[in-house]
């Protein structure tokens, strides 16, 4: 017999998609039975109360969670998010229900041994409910009490060699795409740099010293599977600057219909025979491709590396060999001043250990933002407020046409004194010798 009736939630058990309600109930039952005889460190009925409070929200159309309050582990300013229920008498099991963010491994590959250890720890000391994963990338352990926080942190660090992720006004846990581990399009090793920068900047990740949150995300190619360009303060998008490699035999195989277009991704509908002119050449945004005697030709100098032709014919076309990444800065979701897409700051940079050049750019951006950014002002908003030129100046990067979509629409240029011959100081009396008042 369930502790709380949940007639609304019960309606989410049917249908084909995995039901989180069924899963929560399964966990509630497992804790109630406790076949392994676990000495649960937070209330046994935590999942039942979680279902109960959620049912109440479904009934009221409003959340029943309160603000965080200050909880955390000693010496860290992030990684733990405090959460309290606003109906603790009705749902004592979730009266205190804090979240811990556990820094996921780059690429999100796991061994079952590791995951089982996390499950055992979370069974004993938490609700047994997780998010795999949170939006930023962390493993989210959802719901424990204040006395358990240090215990969990101690076990994570001592037994599992595992640290917490970021929250608050600091570097948030960096994340990356599958990259070279299992993708032929990755222009650099996303996992290697994601891990390296995460370890290098542990202090920035754990101890809030920034005006607001700051995110790194690593996409191996311009397809942007982790959406870095839309949501990272610095997005690292893989690219190359030499020629796309062409296998003409494979091109012919696509044209002859022997290979499926786009890696077989359109198999659910009959789109007719593959038409290289219509599907590749005519869709190229720079019109830099053509056929010559049955061979596919590319004017690589005009290519903007949008990935379309490579996506459509993965066995015929491959990314170039002179690889690196573009760095775009200032992307963010809408709050406070509207959504912003990343703006291109570094058109091309090599991504090679120990990443010194990249770290130089990062640190110059941080110096600028920490000096000039207002409380809760993201980098993108600071850039809007002070202008792109200021960012170029602070990062010591020379302006190039690649920085803009188009040049400015107005001539209101803020000339600096040292840019104008002779400076701004002039003698008005000298002027008046030739121009009467």
């Amino acid at each position: 017999m369930a502790k709380h009736e949940t007639p609304l939630l019960d309606q989410l058990e049917s249908g084909p998609w995995p039901s989180f309600v069924s899963d929560l109930k399964q966990e509630a039952e497992s804790r109630a039975k406790n076949e392994k005889g676990i000495e649960y460190q937070i209330p046994v009925d935590v999942c039942e109360d979680l279902l109960g409070v959620l049912e109440l929200s479904f009934k009221h159309g409003r959340t029943h969670w309160k603000h965080g309050g200050i909880v955390g582990v000693f010496g860290y300013g992030g990684g733990v998010i405090g959460r309290y229920c606003d109906q603790p008498q009705m749902f004592p099991g979730v009266a205190h229900f804090h979240t811990m963010r556990v820094n996921q491994p780059a690429g999100k590959f796991y061994t079952t041994e590791y995951l089982r250890n996390i499950c055992d720890l979370w069974d004993l000391r938490g609700s047994g409910i997780t998010n795999m994963h949170g939006s930023t990338g962390d493993i989210i352990l959802l719901g424990t009490t204040t006395p358990q926080l240090e215990e969990i942190f101690f076990e994570l660090t001592h037994t599992y060699n595992q640290d917490l992720g970021g929250s608050g006004s600091n570097l948030r846990t960096p994340s990356d795409c599958v990259g070279q581990a299992r993708c032929e399009w990755a222009c650099y090793d996303t996992q290697a740099i994601c891990h390296d920068l995460t370890v290098e900047y542990q202090d920035e990740l754990h101890r809030p010293a920034f005006p607001y949150k700051f995110k790194f995300k690593f996409d191996g190619c311009p397809n942007c599977c982790v959406a870095s360009i839309a949501r990272a303060d610095i997005s690292f998008v893989g690219t190359w600057r030499d020629d796309i490699k062409i296998d003409q035999e494979a091109v012919a195989a696509y044209v002859g219909g022997e290979l499926p277009s786009n890696g077989g991704s359109h198999a659910g509908r009959d789109w007719g025979p593959f038409d290289i002119q219509k599907e590749v050449i005519d869709l190229c945004p720079t019109e830099c491709m053509w056929l010559e005697d049955g061979k596919l030709m590319i004017d690589n100098r005009e290519c903007t590396r949008c990935m379309h032709c490579i996506n459509v014919m993965p066995r015929a076309l491959r990314i170039g060999d002179d690889r690196g990444c573009s760095m775009l800065v200032g992307a963010k979701a809408p709050i406070l001043d509207g959504a912003q897409m990343g703006s291109l700051l570094v058109p091309f940079i090599k991504v090679e250990e120990p990443y010194d050049e990249i770290k130089e750019v990062i640190e110059s951006i941080w110096d600028y933002w920490m000096e000039e950014g207002k409380n809760r002002e993201r980098l993108g908003e600071l850039m809007k407020r002070q202008g792109f030129q200021k960012l170029l100046e602070m990062t010591n990067i020379k302006a190039v046409p690649q920085h803009v979509q188009e040049p400015r629409h107005n001539p209101y240029i803020f000339w600096k004194e040292d840019e104008v011959e002779g400076g701004f100081q002039r003698d008005v009396n000298e002027f008046r010798k030739h121009h009467q008042r």
Binding site: E13, I152, C224, S265
Partner: protein
């Protein structure tokens, strides 16, 4: 229950303390076929919905079966994932950015038993535990935020609308009939922890009533200057009030017509709650993308200003999404994303094809970028 110590000594927190060690290193977790072929992959192919093969220059192959997951996941469920990975994948697996689970095997023979095992597992309520799909020109898993399960500022739930929407779109999770991939995302308030602002279809929780003011407690619970500074439209100012018992208190006043309902004040000041059963609901946005393929990344546009929070299955929301998906499937060209299709046919035609009403709420009036969205040409369609 007896307290079990981890070894941590609260009297000496610095004793044996380990900090700043970061995450576990990624290559500890690679399956052998990944470790051996990293950086050597030649090409990939989607063999059927949810099943991929990647072929390496060494001749090795890795077969991946992708399954959907509710990102809200119990340890019992994770242990079941581990059991499957132990049986079929030598104890390895990975998660994708969109909360799918990927099981990898190194030969084609291992594929069938794995697929059968995954497809056979169901929850007691009847839903699939591990539906195979989410690849190619179809719908993949919805990325989402916490909603009513764990957040203090949501204007809608997350897991509930996601479950309801994925049930409605389930065929397109397991089929690849669409013109291109279609990414759906949900954020339960406009703070957008889920960054849904560049999705083909975004489900966004939105408040529509200004904060209530808990005057008696406001100055005790909040730093008034922080609450004032948090408002992006400068709608909050300091104010003095007199309580019924004659006590004079410091509080704030809200210029209600200026409120954009973002809830930032509530984040800074718990005495300014704005959640409301009727006021809160869902905004539908469409036409965004993050890929640089063919056209530049795009923001999603607001196409429905408000739909009610009709728990437990949000039928108005799922109907609307279904209409957009069907109109897109019908009208777009191969490779065209939702936003590219809308721009080609014109947004006036988009509303017609999707059978959506256009209202004044959909015309941008927020700061400078608004001007650039008005029609400044005589080119339009009747």
């Amino acid at each position: 229950m007896a307290f079990i110590s981890s070894g941590y000594n609260p009297d000496k927190p610095m004793e044996n303390r380990i900090t700043d060690i970061g995450p576990r290193k990624f290559d500890e977790f690679y399956p052998p076929v990944i470790k051996k072929n990293k950086g050597k992959w030649l090409y990939h192919e989607i063999l059927e919905p949810g099943v991929l093969v990647h072929v390496s220059e060494t001749g090795d192959e890795v077969y991946t079966v992708r399954v959907g997951g509710a990102r809200l996941m119990s340890v019992s469920h994770i242990r079941e994932i581990c059991e499957i990975a132990d049986t079929h994948c030598d104890g390895h697996l990975r998660f994708t950015t969109r909360n799918n689970i990927e099981f990898m095997v190194d030969s084609r023979e291992k594929l069938e038993p794995l697929k059968q095992d995954l497809a056979s597992r169901k929850f007691n309520g009847g839903s699939f535990k591990f539906p195979i799909g989410g690849t190619g020109a179809g719908v993949t898993n919805i990325i989402h935020t916490q909603g009513w399960i764990h957040c203090h500022t949501p204007a809608t739930d997350a897991s509930g609308p996601v479950k309801a929407t994925m049930d409605v779109l389930f065929d397109d999770f397991q089929n690849m009939r669409l013109p291109a991939q279609l990414r759906v995302s949900l954020a339960c308030c406009l703070n957008m922890c889920g960054a849904v602002h560049c999705s083909d279809i975004a489900i966004l929780g939105y408040h529509r009533k200004p904060p209530m003011l808990d005057h008696e407690y406001l100055d005790k619970m909040c730093e008034i200057p922080l609450a004032i500074a948090a408002c992006p439209t400068a709608a909050i100012k300091p104010a003095k009030f007199e309580l019924p018992d004659g006590t004079k208190i410091n509080s704030v006043a809200v210029n209600e017509p200026r409120c954009m309902f973002c809830g930032n004040c509530y984040t800074m000041c718990p005495a300014m709650p704005l959640a409301d059963d009727v006021g809160d609901g869902i905004v539908i946005m469409a036409g965004g993308k993050v890929s640089n393929r063919i056209t530049a990344p795009k923001f999603s546009k607001v196409v429905v200003a408000f739909l009610p929070n009709n728990a437990p299955r949000w039928p108005e929301t799922t109907d609307c999404i279904k209409k957009i998906v069907e109109a897109y499937a019908e009208g777009a060209r191969k490779y065209e994303r939702v936003g590219e299709w809308a721009e080609r046919i014109g947004w006036e035609r988009f509303f017609e094809k999707c059978e959506l009403d256009f209202t004044h709420h959909l015309i941008d009036d927020f700061r400078d970028p608004a001007y650039y969205t008005w029609r400044q040409t005589t080119q339009f369609k009747f």
